[in-house]
Amino acid sequence: MRQNEHHAPETVERFLDSTLESVDSAEELAVGMAQRAGFDEDELMRIGMAVRESMVNAVVHGNRYNSNKKVRFSVTHHGERFTVQIADQGEGFDFENLPDPLSPENLMRTSGRGIFLIRSFMDEFQMRHLEPGGTEVTLVKYTVSK
């Protein structure tokens, strides 16, 4: 059963440095809000991991730890939707043609599982290119099962 189903929308937005500390901060913030939204322990774990993987992508692959680049991070709980949005200022990448980490030829690769895990843990996941550069991801978890 979910608590807090009838409440004002809550949104938090931060502009984070491109550091691993920001990854921790973002995860902590998202999980805190998710907890207030009424998600159970398993769902909190999934949301936390999805946020962590998305932040790592933004910091490491998007912004490449560049201290001059920020990660825009926002969390919104509105009605049945818990939405996390993360945007980097990198060069962008071809997310339409990502290798499948479950295919036999990729199974023993040491990387490439992040986006797969995000999709596995969230109810919705979208990526889009930003102008003039960068990538924005939107992660959604429903507060009630659909």
Binding site: M49, R52, V56, L107, M108, R113
Partner: protein
């Protein structure tokens, strides 16, 4: 330190008690360095006890895979012990659970090494 690694010998098996977070950065690097060190010392039978691992991300999973490949390619064996629900779920989702030899009991794990 986000992760602690303590090694002990049980016969000719090196048991590594891992505790904490195996995540991108300090945690995954420490595991990588420890495994490389063991391979360098020709330790062929390695059992990673993950019972006290509180968190692992895709980088940590990558280091487990990398370690497995490195140890196997050097003619050794790397096995896993005491997976908690989080780690087990991740390995199952990523189809890696059947790649590793996973045990719930240390004595049985030790005996399983060829």
């Amino acid at each position: 330190m986000s992760v602690s690694l303590k090694t002990r010998q049980v016969g000719d098996v090196t048991v590594v008690d891992v505790a904490g977070r195996i995540t991108l950065g300090e945690g995954s690097s420490a595991l990588r360095d420890a495994l490389r060190d063991m391979v360098g010392k020709n330790q062929k039978k390695i059992l990673l006890n993950l019972g006290e691992v509180s968190y692992i991300d895709s980088s940590g999973i990558g280091e487990l895979v990398s370690g497995f490949t490195t140890v196997t390619n050097s003619g050794g064996q790397l096995k896993l012990l005491n997976l908690n629900k989080r780690v087990k779920d991740l390995l199952q989702i990523t189809k890696l659970y059947t790649v590793f030899d996973v045990h719930d009991d240390e004595a049985g794990a030790i005996r399983s090494f060829a």
